[in-house]
């Protein structure tokens, strides 16, 4: 199989699996596990192909760019597809234990559609297919968030839906303006053209605003905490770890490629809202009394770091680009593990109020360890992916002379330590309750594996950065 035919397969395989999962009356568990493992194999094959070639491209059906659909993968696409592919089988393993019957079938179908949309987004070569995959991702994410079925989950999903469509439409309006000015939607043909176009600045503002809303970046994060905190654990993990990263990826592509990192004001604005997000949402996380809300606010805070790293890329180059990628990868793994582990605790306690958590460390030792390991990466302590990412980010901030950013990064790390220790304190302390129900072990192992991988990324920094390549 040639390397370029991997690209359409990465979209078709999970999409076909998702449709099959919704249609088949039974067997959703094995299907979910099988398809997501196959997807991981495809992702590894793509990484292997890219290690030699650097870039892979494919025109669907042999049609060239103005009419056809171009799929392209570079180092960043490969890293993101690999990490999403690595998380998926573990979420599938967890879900096959946590759900049964109809709920498992719906999760399997929707999650595989979600995965297909995510893969498609990371390899889409033109602005319109990016819109379509963004919408597919948003709609399947909303449906996943509504799976719980309770009134709070439904209300939160509706809010999520309205936010995600509004964001997509603002983005699409920007795309329409770009098409009006250039007559093309292809990312390669548009490369570097954005700033000089008539209406280019307006289009950029619309697209960025829409994507920031979809990524739930502070202060547009209002919809995220209720939606993520009211979903069930594997869904929260998928949404917090993967769904919000996709719009940020697209923002990076647009700004660095189409707009060539233009306008110093953009970098300053992104850094300012990133810093505000790190500080404000870390503080919110510290103040939460429900464990899942704490973890959800931590997500918005960590998205702030990604924005800081992105803002520094035009000035600091490779260090900031590497920081963005390492922080993103380690947050995906740590947050997925953390949400699953907290989900285990909440399932055992019957609620997720921090002050009512029992001394679960004796009953759920693996989940407690997962919280501790994920915490190490989120706080940015060595050795972990989070530490490597923050280290590169600090280097980038020092190189560009942005000393206030150094202060924000350090204070954000301290606040992360406070909310992680708050979580750990309630996990390891409190009273014992012997009558609680037992949990399937694989639900614990899935959480622990993810959290341990976040720490493990600390040792894989160099290979990942080599795969990533230079700033596009």
């Amino acid at each position: 199989m040639s390397a370029s035919s991997l690209l359409p397969l990465l979209v078709l395989w999970p999409l076909a699996g998702g449709l099959l999962g919704l249609l088949l009356p039974r067997g959703a568990g094995p299907l979910l596990l099988g398809v997501s493992t196959g997807n991981l194999a495809l992702a590894v094959a793509l990484v292997d192909a890219l290690a030699g070639a650097g870039k892979v491209a494919h025109s669907v059906g042999g049609w060239s760019t103005p009419l056809g659909i171009a799929l392209r993968a570079d180092g960043l696409s490969a890293v993101l597809i690999l990490v999403a592919g690595a998380v998926a089988p573990l979420l599938a393993l967890y879900a096959s234990a946590a759900y049964a019957g109809r709920e498992l079938r719906y999760f399997a179908g929707l999650f595989l559609l979600f995965l297909g949309a995510l893969n498609g987004l990371f390899i889409a070569g033109d602005l319109f297919n990016l819109y379509v995959t963004l919408e597919l991702l948003g709609l399947s994410a909303v449906a996943l968030a509504a799976l719980g079925g309770g009134a709070a989950a439904l209300a939160a999903s509706l809010r999520y839906l309205l936010a995600t469509i509004t964001g997509s439409l603002a983005y699409l309006l920007g795309v329409a303006l770009l098409y009006r000015a250039t007559g093309t939607l292809d990312l390669l043909q548009l490369s570097g053209q954005g700033p000089a176009l008539p209406g280019g600045a307006v289009a950029f503002a619309l697209m960025v605003a829409g994507l920031l809303l979809k990524a739930a970046v502070f202060p547009l994060h209002f919809w995220l905490p209720p939606a993520h905190a009211n979903a069930s654990p594997p869904v929260s993990a998928a949404l917090s770890a993967l769904a919000v990263k996709a719009p940020l990826y697209l923002l990076l592509r647009l700004w660095l490629s189409t707009y060539d990192g233009a306008w110093p004001l953009v970098a300053e604005l992104l850094a300012a809202i990133g810093a505000a997000g790190v500080l404000w949402c870390s503080l919110q996380a510290v103040l939460q009394r429900r464990a899942k809300l704490l973890v959800a606010y931590s997500t918005v805070a960590q998205l702030g770091y990604l924005l800081l790293a992105l803002a520094l890329v035009p000035a600091a180059g490779a260090a900031a680009y590497g920081a963005f990628t390492l922080l993103l990868v380690s947050h995906v793994l740590a947050k997925a593990g953390l949400f699953l582990a907290v989900g285990n605790l909440a399932r055992r306690a019957g609620h997720d109020r921090l002050d009512g958590f029992e001394r679960v460390v004796q009953h759920l030792p693996l989940s407690a360890s997962a919280i501790a390991l994920a915490g190490v990466s989120l706080m940015g302590m060595p050795p972990s992916g989070g530490f490597n990412g923050k280290w590169l980010l600090l280097q980038a901030a020092i190189a560009t002379g942005d000393w206030w950013l150094v202060a924000v990064i350090l204070v954000g790390g301290l606040l992360a330590a406070v909310y992680i220790f708050k979580l750990i304190e309630h996990t390891f302390g409190g009273s014992d309750r012997p009558d609680a129900t037992a949990l399937p072990r694989r639900m614990e192992w899935a959480a622990l594996t993810l959290a341990a991988s976040a720490v493990g990324v600390g040792f894989l920094g160099q290979p990942l950065l080599r795969l990533l390549g230079g700033v596009p």
């Binding site: 103005p66 009419l67 759900y99 049964a100 019957g101 109809r102 709920e103 498992l104 079938r105 719906y106 319109f128 819109y131 379509v132 919408e135 709609l139 909303v142 449906a143 509504a146 799976l147 719980g148 079925g149 309770g150 009134a151 989950a153 439904l154 209300a155 999903s157 509706l158 839906l161 309205l162 469509i165 509004t166 439409l169 699409l172 309006l173 329409a176 303006l177 098409y179 009006r180 007559g183 939607l185």
Partner: protein, 98 residues
């Protein structure tokens, strides 16, 4: 050419109006409708930007309409479930298959 510019301006105005409606509306159905109008306004701008012999925007807008229909259906379904028990499959909403 002026006709096209006219449509583009109309689309931009509709976008602002529907965004305003989305912000001030309280009832979720009104918000969903506002988002629908917003979608139509974007499609209008897209079509207005096309040259007379350019089929691409029309193909894109048809795709966009399909996406908008799917999103609206999902939103209406969520709304119905929020509003109260639906006549057919209410008890099945997110329960373990028993």
């Amino acid at each position: 050419m002026t006709g096209q510019a006219c449509y583009a301006v109309l689309g931009a105005l509709l976008f602002c109006l529907s965004f305003h409606a989305l912000i001030i509306a309280v009832h979720p159905l009104r918000r969903l409708l506002a988002v629908n109008v917003m979608g139509s306004s974007v499609f209008l701008v897209f079509i207005a930007g096309a040259g007379p012999r350019d089929p691409l925007p029309q193909a894109l807008v048809i795709t966009g309409i399909v996406v908008a229909v799917a999103a609206t259906a999902l939103g209406l379904n969520l709304l119905l479930r929020l509003a109260g028990p639906a006549e057919d499959d209410r008890p099945s909403a997110g329960q373990d298959g028993s």
